[in-house]
């Protein structure tokens, strides 16, 4: 009996797990192909592709940070503010004449400490939901950033500080011309995403982060120190936001009060489009990458076609709803056995 039932499973049903894993990449590829046909000369040009990567570079760090938090069924609304505060501290440190390696290190430290503050607050104050703690720190961190900078931009960094966000790797030795360089931020994004993939999928702590998102009681019963892991997760999210600040410092050459305003919403949107679930325990690093790229490519493509920024807002909103609806449909198929 059982054998017959297995044979009856159609190819469509068998492909569901693969679709679950790689479906969002298919959407991404369709978008790329579509835009290529609509803008054949510009869209896939070296210049435009590197532009897209540069544009999504700091957002992708925030999205990755928020993703780790979402896996634990939490949320971090303060990533944009953490980035702004880290950027302001970086700018002040740079202006004080500190050595470049201190200036580069400082946003990472500030970001991590802000994240740790979130994590400890959630755990020690026993907040009913991380939403509340991080909503509070969204205001606290941005306010602090404005207090220390006087609310005005601080501009002009040395080349070493700007290297991560603005550096170029010359590819003329490959026979390419000078405009075809590799932005340093692309290498950074690729390395950070790879490290996070390795961490979440191949280490015990990473596995426990997924377990906490799946069933925190199970994690506790298995002897996992859930509170400790949560503090690590929020600290990591803060650290990645600090990375975002470092990249933005290089790109903008300035610390400015509006840096990262509403960026937490973009970060959450990228995670949701990439298949992460607010209920925790679901989603992949690859999905987040796809989510970030879909948003970046959509904005880029619409800009190339001279579509107004207002329409871009409408379309990104629609994509969030559609992406989650596809997920709902997929779950329906998965449970109907």
């Amino acid at each position: 009996m059982e054998n017959k039932e297995v044979k009856k499973e159609s190819l469509f049903l068998k492909s569901i797990p693969y679709f679950e894993k790689y479906g969002i990449l298919i959407v991404l590829i369709i978008m790329i192909v579509g835009l290529h046909f609509m803008q054949p000369e510009v869209f896939l040009s070296w210049r435009n592709i590197t532009n897209i990567f540069k544009q999504v570079s700091w957002q992708s760090m925030l999205a990755l940070g928020v993703f780790v938090v979402i896996v634990t069924a939490g949320i971090d609304l303060s990533v944009g503010s953490i980035m702004m505060l880290s950027l302001m501290v970086l700018a002040i440190t740079a202006k004080s004449g500190a050595d470049w390696y201190i200036v580069v290190f400082i946003p990472l430290l500030v970001g991590m400490l802000c994240g740790m503050f979130n994590g400890l607050g959630i755990v020690l104050l026993r907040m009913p939901h991380p939403f509340i703690m991080t909503l509070g720190t969204l205001y606290i961190f941005r306010g602090t950033g404005n207090l220390i900078s006087g609310g005005s931009p601080i501009s002009g960094f040395t080349d070493e500080v700007r290297f991560i966000g603005n550096g170029r790797i010359d590819l003329t030795w490959l026979g390419l011309d000078e405009t075809q360089y590799l932005p340093v931020s692309v290498i950074l994004i690729a390395s950070v995403f790879f490290c996070m993939w390795l961490f979440l999928n191949h280490t015990r702590t990473g596995k426990w982060i997924y377990a906490i998102g799946g069933n925190p009681n199970a994690a506790r019963a298995a002897g996992i120190n859930v509170n400790k892991i949560l503090v690590i997760v929020y600290s990591l999210c803060g650290l990645l936001s600090g990375f975002g600040a470092l990249i933005l410092a290089g790109r903008a050459d300035s610390g400015y009060p509006n840096a990262g305003l509403n960026a937490e919403l973009d970060a959450i949107a990228a995670c949701i489009i990439g298949g992460a679930s607010f209920f925790g325990g679901r989603g992949t690093v690859l999905g987040v990458f796809a989510g970030v790229m879909i948003m970046g490519i959509l904005r880029n493509g619409l800009n190339l076609m001279d579509v107004s920024a207002f329409w871009q807002q409408v379309l990104i909103g629609a994509i969030i709803v559609i992406a989650v609806y596809i997920d709902v449909l997929r779950k329906d198929l998965g449970t109907r056995k």
Partner: protein
């Protein structure tokens, strides 16, 4: 039955007070190797409190516990796990989003070292968990299947597999069949009988007389926080045990 006379766990004169409330008063309990002990009692009789004390979640106000004749003081569930005592929780402490194998090894995952990096050994997780499932005769399509895709009975089986994966000597189960469809109950009961055959002792808390009489060797009844009655299974009847639960002898 494979019951020997070796006593693996003995609790002596256990009392537990929560403020002015007496949850347990001078309760005694013994479990032999390979034996299944049924603990019955009405709601509030102290069954769950007693099990939480045995597993190290609560500390007794008075009384002593002996594992293999040696006195032990449990500070946390980790201590009881190290002594070979595992608890299967009523709410099935499994993470639905993780595969079967990873649930069995959750918190105790084997790793491989790559220089300073310690990475999960997925191959070992798969091999060890499938060997363990085979040993318990638990049949699943693959240990890579996610737990949320399983039926209630299969999940209960995985929870029991998880509790017995690390050479445990005694497994405490709180209402193991309460949430199951009728046709799945017998599979879980078979699994419990299978555990006894490989020398693992079981304590079952249950309201279902059918379950108790299908797997237990001995029954002990608690009533208002005290030992009320105890008997070998063969020397009692369902009606008598139901009487004990209600405080009648």
């Amino acid at each position: 039955m494979n019951t020997s006379n070796k006593i693996i766990l003995e609790a002596k004169n256990i009392s537990k007070y929560f403020g002015t409330i007496t949850a347990l008063e001078n309760v005694n309990l013994k479990v032999r190797e390979g034996e299944c002990l049924g603990v019955v009692g009405d709601n509030g009789a102290g069954k769950s409190t007693l099990m939480k004390i045995l597993s190290g979640l609560y500390k007794p106000s008075k009384g002593e516990m002996y594992f293999y004749g040696k006195r032990e003081v449990l500070e946390s569930p980790r201590d009881s796990q190290n002594l070979g005592l595992e608890m299967v929780y009523q709410d099935l402490a499994l993470a639905g989003n993780l595969p079967i194998g990873e649930n069995i090894f959750l918190g105790r995952e084997p790793t491989k070292s790559f220089g300073f990096l310690k990475l999960l050994d997925y191959k070992k997780i798969k091999e060890l968990s499938e060997a363990h499932l085979d040993k318990l005769k638990i049949h699943v399509k693959s240990s890579d299947q996610k737990v949320e895709e399983l039926s209630g009975g299969q999940r209960q089986a995985i929870a029991i597999a998880r509790a017995t994966a690390f050479n445990s000597k005694l497994v405490i189960m709180d209402e193991p069949t309460a949430a199951l469809a009728i046709k799945e109950v017998s599979k879980v009961l078979d699994l419990i009988n299978g555990l006894k055959k490989i020398g693992v002792s079981v304590i079952i808390i249950s309201h279902r007389m059918d379950d108790i009489f299908a797997v237990c060797d001995r029954i002990t009844a608690l009533f208002q926080g005290t030992n009320f009655a105890e008997s070998e299974l063969s020397k009692t009847s369902k009606d008598e045990v139901i009487g004990w639960i209600m405080g009648k002898k």
